[in-house]
Every structure is written in structure tokens, then in C-alpha cells.
């Protein structure tokens, strides 16, 4: 690792007018290195996990880790998009519960579920309703943050509470169950022997890497997070981009919620409650700056992966459940320190 770090540090001293063939490849290598800052940590955890329990590296366990992280990972992707623009969206965790909650409420038959639900829509509407709820929440956040210029932290904190309250209200604090297949399919189906939710989350991350790294719209997110006035001066429609970022993020959170509900075949009133802290932690560990303008989708992915691998190792090591929260918090702090050491720069 020390060797790779030293190559990362050397280019400034290299003479700038080097032959035209070598610089692009070298920059690419450095950009990848910065992205790969957490990979040594991930490998280390994998080795420790294998020593603790050889089951850790079995394909079943790896699929288990990937599936358990797939829903939260999509929320991390959503949060990353918002963080890069220099805003933050706390309400994602409530959207995560509310969107499938509303779909279940509108669709399920009260006769089967002791009076829960309205049986108002045919079950085919499940996915569109979930996404529409996400889009609406994002648009409302955008209205308050972009249009009225309110502070994003406070607005989305308010939304977090309002949306959670809404879900508790419509469900009477109970769990929606007896979900139609249209709601459970994505969360429980298997494609080519691997759960669909893993495919979906990997696909979305791949899409995120391409959009944020290789399209003007994606680069506009970085420009806005780095210096909004400069972005505007460069002809970027900053308000519109922010709206879209908030709407896309909420829709991703809604979809992640649907995957979770599908996997559990139920929507508890507390679905996603408290998850936002883990989401922030994963994004920051993955190198996304809370100040905006910095971080990559791939980095965010390594952040989630590291967090869930450590949790899995602890489970395999037989750590009692009462200690899980203590250890989760410790893991976040340790992961921050590790990424500080391997990444070389303080996370902000």
C-alpha cells in the first residue's frame, strides 16, 4: 500500500511537459487509486473474516452480505447524489418506509389483514405508486429547498418526521402484510441464482458511476457542490439540476424501500427508521464530502461494502446481539480512521 501511495504523491514533482502518451494513463491510474482507497481495508476485513470463520468467504455468505446491504446501498447512492451537490437529504429513510407503505395501503385487501389497507388500486400499480411517492417527496423537498431557499438540513429533518408520522398514521402503527406479488417480486426473486435486489443495486451503482463520471449532467452535480455561482456562470441551470437530484434521490430511496418490503413480505411502520445514520456513515467513509463537490459513486459503494462486511464478521464471530449497536458505532468510527489513514486526507 505504501508503494501505491507514494506513486499517488509523486506526479506534482514530475515535469509537466512529459510525452503526451503517458499522462492520461497515469492520471487515470491515480484517479482509480483515490477511488480504491478502501480496497486494502476491504481485503483486510476479508482476511480477518476468513480467519474468524472460513464460512465468511463462501459464496452463500457473500451473497448474504450483498443482499443484506443492497437496499441500504441504494439509499447510499441516493444520498451520494444529494451530498455531491452540497445538500443533504435526511428524509430518505422515511421515504424508504413510506413509499412501499402507501402502495401497500392502497392495494391490500382489508378483509385479509384485519382492516388494514383500502383495496383501492389493482396490484399492478404497486411499482408505479412507489416511484410516484418518491418523486412527490423529492419534488416537495425541492420546492422548499430550491424554490424557497430553506436550509436543506432542517427541511429534510422536518420531512423525516412528517413522513414517518404519515406512515404511522395510515398504518395505525401496525405492519402491512399479505403484500401482492407485484410488491414482493423484486425483493424476493432470484435471477441467475442471485437475488434480484443484488442485480438491481449493482446495476444502479453502475449507472451512477457512468452518469456522475461521464455525463455533463453528472458533472453539473459536482460543479454545483463545488461552487454554485461558478456553475451558474458556466451556464448550468443549477436550480433545475438540484430539483432533479432531489427527486431522483427520493425515487431511489422509494425503490430501495420496495426491495426491503419485498424481501420481508411486509411493511412495518418503522421500516428504515434510524437507517439514515448508517447511510451517512457509509457515504463519508466512501470518500463523499459533506461539504459537496467531492466523492464518487464507486467510493460510496466501497463504503457500504466495508461497513456491511465488518458487521457480518462480527455476526460470524458470535458477538451477542445486545452489543450490535455499540459495535456498529465503533465500526463507523474505526472505518473513518482507516479511510483517513489509507486515503491520506481527512473526511469532511
Amino acid at each position: 500500500m505504501s508503494e501505491t501511495l507514494s506513486t499517488a504523491a509523486s506526479p506534482p514533482t514530475a515535469p509537466p511537459p512529459s510525452p503526451p502518451a503517458s499522462p492520461p494513463s497515469r492520471t487515470l491510474a491515480i484517479a482509480r487509486l483515490r477511488d480504491l482507497a478502501l480496497v486494502p481495508a476491504i481485503i483486510a476485513v476479508a482476511i480477518v473474516g476468513f480467519i474468524v470463520n472460513p464460512v465468511f468467504l463462501s459464496s452463500d455468505n457473500i451473497i448474504n452480505v450483498l443482499q443484506s446491504m443492497s437496499e441500504i446501498a441504494i439509499v447510499v447512492l441516493a444520498q451520494t447524489i444529494v451530498l455531491i451537490t452540497g445538500k443533504m437529504d435526511l428524509s430518505l429513510e422515511s421515504t424508504f418506509g413510506l413509499a412501499p407503505g402507501i402502495a401497500a395501503w392502497l392495494i391490500i385487501d382489508p378483509a385479509l389483514t384485519r382492516g388494514l389497507g383500502l383495496d383501492f388500486l389493482p396490484s399492478a400499480w404497486a411499482v408505479p405508486v412507489v416511484l410516484a411517492v418518491g418523486a412527490l417527496v423529492g419534488a416537495f423537498n425541492g420546492l422548499l429547498i430550491v424554490r424557497f431557499g430553506l436550509n436543506g438540513f432542517i427541511v429534510t429533518l422536518g420531512m423525516l418526521i412528517v413522513l414517518r408520522g404519515l406512515l404511522t398514521g395510515i398504518s395505525g402503527g401496525q405492519t402491512f402484510f399479505a403484500l401482492p406479488e407485484s410488491m414482493t417480486y423484486l425483493g424476493s426473486a432470484s435471477w441467475f441464482g442471485v437475488p434480484a435486489s443484488i442485480w438491481l443495486s449493482l446495476l444502479l451503482f453502475g449507472g451512477g458511476i457512468v452518469v456522475l463520471g461521464f455525463t455533463r449532467a453528472g458533472r453539473a452535480l459536482y460543479a454545483i457542490g463545488g461552487n454554485v455561482d461558478a456553475a451558474r456562470a458556466a451556464g448550468i441551470r443549477t436550480d433545475r439540476v438540484l430539483w432533479i437530484a432531489l427527486i431522483v434521490a427520493s425515487m431511489l430511496a422509494a425503490l430501495a424501500g420496495l426491495l426491503m418490503s419485498g424481501r420481508l413480505a411486509a411493511v412495518p411502520a418503522a421500516q428504515g427508521s434510524g437507517a439514515i445514520f448508517q447511510v451517512f456513515a457509509a457515504a463519508v467513509i466512501g470518500g463523499v464530502s459533506l461539504n459537496g463537490g467531492k466523492g464518487t459513486v464507486f467510493g460510496a459503494f466501497t463504503g457500504v461494502l466495508l461497513l456491511f462486511m465488518i458487521i457480518n464478521v462480527l455476526t460470524l464471530a458470535g458477538v451477542p446481539a445486545q452489543w450490535t449497536n455499540f459495535l456498529n458505532g465503533t465500526v463507523i468510527l474505526v472505518a473513518l480512521v482507516v479511510s483517513r489513514i489509507t486515503g491520506g486526507k481527512a473526511q469532511t
Partner: protein, 513 residues
């Protein structure tokens, strides 16, 4: 296209259509009249200065000339054609570009991406081609001979490099008319000279500049024409050579203003030594020893890397020195301790008022009394009445333009903010006043007030250190120590010539070459 441009830009004369012409511009912001039937005509190939005190309407004119605001009345024309509509950003950018004091570079992105932001090179599938983008950026910077690695993040650029990159970006849009808004404010002497060389080169290639600066000597050095604004109106436009310095200042202020100079009263020999700095060595290696007597004003001059700011910060305790002692009125200051320096009676105007000088959202009263809670407190609680009384005194003494002590400092103009910083330094009745670049970015009139205060303070027996490379600041000093590369190279008594001092700051000795 470039060929026809070249043909029409052979020289300042020979083409009657001005690059930009703004006529009878009136602009209101709410109840304030920012521009009143003002205008400007900039001819092709000239370097045109726009001067005026803070609030004269310069920034408003710039925002109208760059299409950020629409004028309420009047019209703007480029090359004799009316300006594009406000929404057509690309249309504006082909005509004019402005390098603002505030950076329009995005620090987290690479230089290459900053140059081609929102117009990235794209390949199949409308995906960005980073290799093409980097090559284009390299070509662009090479074309205008800017020596910067396009792959580095923009946050690593120096102020000077950033300006060059911004100029190159402006030129890449096709604009050949560039507005520089106080480009020299954050540069040191050598940096300013490099900028001027660049401006002259570009001028030879047919680029027209509108140059905004508070430093009049720069206007005489680099500009052909000067336009003066005052109180939202156009006052005069004249060739620089035909407007004498006093006449220019008079046009800016509406009255005759001369900079205060030290009324040179030789201090009598029995005045006690108040400040004694012995073998001070800063962490960066700069060295200084000096003695200052009560009522003496000592200048410490030097360019950007001379170490003058570092030694001053070591004296006041902002930075911990590597060695040496500072003794004020018989009391040795604890190294690197600001509270100890304050207690011993040191007042400081720091280098950067935005970073170290002010809390922008707090009121004038709170900022002024920040270092002297004991003077406005009673039994441990701060008395707002006493605080406001002290602040009102400061506002009156320093002629701060503000409605009252409760006004937040962020609402004040640059000159008045600097006066608040000065007021805070004076609030403790200091024995030693240290001023680091006290008049950076302030207008002529505020400059006069700030420097006038020094003369008043010395009369009360305070020793004053003026740390600056600004000749007007140094003129009030009894003697000037010139630093170069971390050492004091010359000491000049009052009455030095400008050339000698500037030469010494650049490390040149005119008499021994």
C-alpha cells in the same frame, strides 16, 4: 474568423467601432440608485481603467456589461451591435468575460474540467471523453502560454495561476474583451508584474481590457484610458497621460485629497524604547531584530516571500516563533500567545480581514469590543449600553459609514469593514499597534482615514509597526526596514524615494549596480 479579427486589431486607432459602448445606463436596486445615466466607451485594443471609490457604481456597471443584470434604462452595444438578450449566456460569453475578485473556479474539479465545464468533449452515447478534454485543455493553456498542469485540482492553483486560467477560459469562448476586477488585490509585487506582462502580451494580440483597481499607480503603469465614476455617475474619461494623479484623485473623491505623510518630527533622544524585538526567527526562517520608541512609526516593507507578514504574526503571537524574544514596555511576551500579547497592550490589524479580522454576521459593536470584554462588562456580564457607547465612539472617530453600532459588519463596504478592524485594534488603547497590509482593497478616502488615525495614535505615545508593500502605507513611517527573502536588507530613513524602496523590496540595489 480569427483572421478578420487579426486584421481589425492592428492597433488602438483605425477602427471607430468601440468594443463596448454603454450609454445612459440607469440601474436601481430597491431604493438605492446604483447607476445614474452613466456610460463607458472602450475602444478596441486599449487597456481602459475604471476607477471610483467603493459604492461608486463600478461593480454594477460590470454586472451590466457582463449581462448578469439588465439596466433599467440605457443600452449596451458590442462592436456596434446591441447586446444579446440576458438569457443568452453563450452570446454574452462570446463578447465579454470578467475575472472577478471572487473565484469562478470550482476548487474540487481539475483545471481541465474547469476550463470546459458544461461543454465537455463528448464521444459516442454523449459520454464525456476525458482524454480529449484534457488534451483540449492542454492546447488551450499552451496557446495562451499558461504553464499549469491541467490535471491538478483547481484548489491547488495560486491566485495568480487562477487568474491566468480564468483569462484563458474567457478567451476560449471567443471573447476578446476582458474585465479584470481588482486583479492585483491579492498579488504580491512580482505577481503583479507578471500579470502586467501578460496583459501587455495579450493586448498585442488584440485583446481589450477593462481594468478595475484601487491602486492608482497601476493605472498609470498599464492603462491607456481612464474612466472615473463617483456616486453612481460618470465623471470623466480621459487618456491616462493627460490626467495628473491629483486630478484623478480629485475626480474620484470630488475634492482634493492628499495622502497623509509623516509630519517628520525627529523623536528626541530621551524617548524610551517601547518595543524591542531580539533575534526573532519565525518557523519559516525569517529573521528580525528591531527597536521602536514610544510614538515611533516603523515600516516593515517587502514583497510576497519576504517574510514580513510572518515576523509580524510572530510578534503579536499569532504564530509561534522558532526563537528570539519580544519585549513590550519591559514585559517579555509569551511566545505564540495572543491573549498574552493583548494583555501586554498589543493591537493588531491582521492581514486578511475576512479570515482573521471580523465575524461578519455580528454587529459593529460586538466586533469592535471583541478583544476588550473587561471594558464593556460589569461583574462578568457584558453591558450592551457600554458596548454601544464604545462602538459609537469608534464609528465617529474613524468616520465609519453605518446607521449605528448594531449594524452587522457584513453589510458594510470593504473600506468600512477595515475601519471596524482598526477600531477593534484601537479599542484596548494599545501600547503597540501592528498593522499588516492595513489598506488592502479599500478606497482612497478610507485609506486616508485609516492612515490618518496612525498619526493620531502615535501622538499618544503608541509605537506603530506598519507591515506592507504599499508605498502610501509606508510613507507615514519614520523609518522603513526592507525585508527580502527573510532578512532585513536595508533601513531607510524618512524621505526615501519610491524607486529606491521598490528596488530594495525586489532585492535590487540601485546604487551598487
Amino acid at each position: 474568423m480569427s483572421a478578420t479579427r487579426q486584421a481589425t486589431t492592428d492597433g488602438p486607432v483605425g477602427d471607430d467601432r468601440p468594443v463596448v459602448e454603454a450609454v445612459n445606463i440607469t440601474k436601481r436596486f430597491g431604493s438605492t440608485l446604483a447607476l445614474s445615466e452613466a456610460g463607458i466607451v472602450v475602444r478596441r485594443g486599449e487597456t481602459h481603467a475604471l476607477v471610483g471609490r467603493n459604492g461608486a457604481g463600478k461593480s454594477t456597471l460590470v454586472s451590466i456589461l457582463t449581462g448578469l443584470h439588465a439596466a433599467d434604462e440605457g443600452c449596451v452595444a458590442f462592436d456596434g451591435r446591441p447586446a444579446p438578450p440576458l438569457g443568452d449566456r453563450d452570446g454574452w460569453r462570446r463578447q465579454v468575460a470578467c475575472v472577478y475578485q471572487k473565484s469562478t473556479i470550482i476548487p474540487t474539479l481539475t483545471v481541465a474540467e474547469n476550463l470546459f465545464l458544461n461543454r465537455h468533449a463528448r464521444g459516442p452515447g454523449r459520454l464525456i471523453r476525458w482524454s480529449t478534454l484534457r488534451r483540449q485543455a492542454q492546447e488551450l493553456l499552451a496557446e495562451w502560454s499558461v504553464d499549469v498542469d491541467v490535471r491538478q485540482p483547481a484548489s491547488t492553483l495560486t491566485v495568480e495561476q487562477r487568474q491566468f486560467v480564468e483569462i484563458a477560459r474567457a478567451l476560449s469562448f471567443g471573447a476578446r474583451f476582458i474585465i479584470l476586477d481588482e486583479p492585483t488585490a491579492q498579488l504580491d509585487g512580482a505577481g503583479i508584474q507578471r500579470l502586467f506582462t501578460r496583459i501587455r502580451d495579450l493586448r498585442a494580440q488584440g485583446v481589450t481590457f477593462l481594468f478595475i483597481s484601487h491602486h492608482l499607480q497601476e493605472i498609470y503603469e498599464i492603462c491607456d484610458q481612464v474612466t472615473v465614476f463617483r456616486d453612481a455617475r460618470h465623471i470623466v474619461t480621459a487618456p491616462v497621460a493627460e490626467l495628473s494623479r491629483p486630478a484623478l484623485v480629485a475626480a474620484m473623491t470630488g475634492e482634493d485629497v492628499s495622502m497623509p505623510e509623516a509630519v517628520h518630527r525627529p523623536l528626541s533622544a530621551d524617548v524610551p524604547v517601547l518595543l524591542s524585538v531580539r533575534d526573532l526567527v519565525t518557523a519559516s526562517g525569517a529573521e528580525l531584530s528591531l527597536e521602536a520608541r514610544a510614538g515611533e512609526v516603523v515600516g516593515i516593507a517587502g514583497g510576497g516571500g519576504s517574510g514580513k507578514v510572518e515576523v509580524a504574526e510572530a510578534i503579536v503571537g499569532l504564530a509561534r516563533p522558532a526563537g528570539g524574544t519580544v519585549t513590550l514596555d519591559g514585559r517579555q511576551l509569551r511566545a505564540g500567545s495572543v491573549p498574552d500579547a493583548l494583555a501586554a497592550g498589543v493591537g493588531l490589524v491582521p492581514q486578511d480581514r475576512h479570515r482573521e479580522g471580523l465575524v461578519p454576521l455580528l454587529s459593529i459593536a460586538e466586533n469592535v469590543t471583541m478583544t476588550v470584554p473587561h471594558r464593556v462588562g460589569r461583574r462578568g456580564l457584558i453591558s450592551p449600553a457600554r458596548r454601544d457607547a464604545l462602538a459609537r465612539q469608534t464609528i465617529a472617530d474613524l468616520a465609519i459609514k453605518a446607521a449605528g453600532p448594531e449594524v452587522p459588519v457584513s453589510d458594510l463596504s470593504g473600506g468600512n469593514q477595515q475601519k471596524v478592524v482598526m477600531g477593534r485594534a484601537l479599542a484596548s488603547d494599545p501600547k503597540l499597534l501592528v498593522l499588516i497590509t492595513p489598506t488592502a482593497g479599500v478606497d482612497v478616502r478610507s485609506k486616508q482615514t485609516l492612515l490618518g488615525v496612525v498619526d493620531e495614535v502615535r501622538g499618544r505615545g503608541t509605537a506603530v509597526l506598519v507591515v506592507s508593500d504599499e508605498l502610501d502605507d509606508l510613507r507615514i513611517c519614520d523609518r522603513v526596514l526592507v525585508m527580502f527573502q527573510g532578512r532585513v536588507v536595508r533601513e531607510m530613513a524618512h524621505g526615501w524615494s519610491d524607486n529606491d524602496l521598490v528596488a530594495a523590496m525586489e532585492g535590487v540595489d540601485l546604487h551598487h549596480v
